[in-house]
């Protein structure tokens, strides 16, 4: 292999530059968050007297403990239920291959191209009619539905690659469809289900539009939805705004660092197979 020193240097310089482009914004808000509340520092000014108290203040004024409870509750309403129904549908399409499964799959895949904004208006009118507007169900129910295209597709991709022989052998032993699902295929599907669960938790935490439109009280929203409201109130207090943003970022970044492999794999394969 012949790769010139010049090329190695140029290539690595490009990578370092792009990493700086990616990371500097994070560093900038972190440094800004440590400046005295209410001041307007420069983008990368070192705080002479780091104000760690800003994080505490942001936590208090944004009602973070209420928000965390609210977000976690929405995640718990969405993720387990969405996992169960999408796994079952993926099983029906990918393993049982029910008649019409091709059409059913196409119907779900169609949803992958729909921007949320395209259907948000009827979701709003529908929820008013169903009297769930302004409750946490208002965010949770449509989110479950909006995740179906990706999750059914993702679970089906797992089941379609499972050898049919496993099911056949169990059938010969007299297993019912439920036995097949519950005892054989569910345990084998743990890895893709876990990845999907992590992804959906992050997406829910980060969901903004639904929270903004469907729930008026910011403390009943998801984290990202609440951050939008927080920005409205504290747009002029940059250090506090940065501190609040960091508090909301940290959980997602932490989950990403912990489950990096699964998250990237799920996102990429979900996209490639889509």
């Amino acid at each position: 292999m012949k790769i010139g020193r010049g090329e190695i240097f140029a290539g690595r310089t490009l990578l370092v530059a792009l990493m700086a482009f990616t990371v500097l914004p994070f560093i900038s808000i972190f440094l800004t968050a440590l400046h005295p509340s209410g001041t307007v520092p420069g983008g990368l000014d070192w705080p002479a007297n780091p104000q760690w108290g800003n994080f505490v203040e942001a936590f208090k004024v944004a009602n973070m403990n209420t928000l965390i409870v609210s977000s976690v509750r929405i995640v718990l309403m969405v993720v387990p239920f969405a996992l169960v129904i999408s796994t079952m549908a993926g099983f029906a399409i990918g393993m049982l291959r029910i008649p019409g499964s091709k059409w059913l799959l196409a119907l779900f895949v169609f949803g992958l191209t729909l921007p949320f904004q395209g259907i948000i208006i009827p979701i709003y009118t529908l929820e008013r009619a169903l009297h769930i507007y302004n409750t946490q169900f208002a965010i949770a129910l449509p989110l479950i539905a909006l995740y179906m295209p990706f999750s059914v597709f993702w679970m089906r991709a797992h089941f379609i690659n499972m050898p049919v022989e496993i099911s056949e052998a169990a059938r010969v032993d007299g297993a019912t469809t439920w036995d097949l699902f519950r005892r054989i295929h569910l345990p084998l599907a743990q890895a893709p289900i876990a990845s999907l669960g992590i992804l959906m938790s992050i997406w829910t935490w980060n969901q903004f539009l639904l929270a903004l439109v469907l729930v008026e009280d910011p403390t009943q929203r998801t984290m990202a939805g609440a951050l939008g409201a927080f920005q409205g109130h504290y747009a002029t207090n940059v250090p506090l705004l940065c501190a609040g943003t960091i508090i909301i970022l940290v959980p997602t970044l932490l989950i990403f660092v912990l489950f990096q492999k699964q998250i990237i794999k799920a996102l990429l394969q979900g996209a490639v197979k889509g």
Partner: protein, 308 residues
């Protein structure tokens, strides 16, 4: 994917098969039903309703009046509305073409000169912005692009102090500044997707090319791009949808301003429907947005299929 064409039937002796399969089919459909039900109620029905609303005049509570195509005509006639579509096209350049193009370059650089831990780390770092809430990305860059923010500080540092400005408040530059946010968010996604695909290309191909002394550019054009056509298509699809459907970033960073300079369809739908209570017009714009996505995505998908 290789198992796609396997026979699907769980073979049972021929006599009983008909009856058996029917019963099985019904049970099978019961498994798909909950997902289909949720999807139908909160996605498919709203999809149809959006189309229905778009042909009516409605404020959300009173009676609906049929107006035919009038809402669509209005979208084309009112500059503030049709401009959002043009803005969306301009954002496609920033959110899609640049991240995919640059992602390809970065992936091939990683593949050539940073195969070890260094490449691993750079992939992870570049991916970070994709995982955070877009609202947060909007807030972060709203601050970076402000008068005393990092961008201007950097420009002054390299002697370009004369061009510093409040980028997101500048009529000429605001939309492109929003585009930079898109690059920041999407570059890592494209890089990682493409470099993962690249690592699956038979290394012998690259070895052979390198023994022949082919440089980075010839390797890039001759091997990498043709072999990654499918993944490039995927990247384009995902990022184009992302660009056309932008909402969070714009809502937080510029709220469509200054004037209408950064307004995008998603934001305008929100304003028309929930601030101005003009459900019909908002729905017409929503239908056009969804149509636009399909019109742009289909050729990319077809291109994909032709190569395989």
């Amino acid at each position: 994917m290789t198992f796609k064409n396997q026979p699907a039937t769980l073979s049972i002796s021929k006599r009983t098969r008909n009856k058996w399969v029917r019963r099985e089919d019904i049970i099978g459909w019961l498994y798909a039903l909950p997902a289909l039900f949720m999807y139908a109620v909160f996605v498919l029905v709203p999809f149809v309703l959006t189309i229905v609303y778009s042909f009516h005049k409605w404020n959300g509570v009173g009676p609906m009046t049929w107006v035919g195509l009038k809402n669509y005509i209005t979208v084309f006639e009112v500059p503030n509305l049709i401009d959002t579509i043009f803005h969306a096209f301009w954002l496609v350049v920033w959110f899609s073409f640049i991240p995919v193009g640059l992602g390809l370059v970065v992936a091939s650089v990683i593949n050539r000169v940073a195969t070890g831990r260094f490449g691993e780390v750079s992939r992870t770092i570049l991916f970070l912005p994709y995982i955070i809430a877009l609202v947060a990305a909007g807030i972060i860059w709203g601050w970076l692009f402000s008068l005393s923010g990092l961008v201007n500080q950097g420009l002054s540092f390299i002697g370009l102090g004369s061009i510093t400005r409040a980028w997101l408040g500048d009529f000429n530059w605001a939309l492109s500044a929003v585009g930079v946010i898109g690059i920041w968010v999407l570059l890592g996604f494209c890089t990682v997707l493409l470099s993962t695909a690249m690592s699956k290309v038979d290394p012998a191909l690259y070895e052979a090319a390198r023994i022949d002394g082919s440089d980075w550019f010839r390797e890039f054009v001759g091997i990498t791009v043709p072999l990654l056509k499918q993944e490039i298509g995927v990247c384009l699809t995902v990022t184009v949808i992302f660009a056309l459907a932008t909402f969070d970033i714009v809502y937080v960073a510029t709220a469509g301003g200054p004037g209408n300079a950064t307004s995008v369809p998603g934001l305008q739908i929100y304003i028309l429907a929930f601030a101005q209570r003009n459900i019909g017009l908002a729905s017409a714009l929503a239908v056009m947005l969804m149509l636009l996505v399909v019109v742009i995505i289909l050729p990319i998908q077809r291109l994909n299929k032709e190569t395989y």
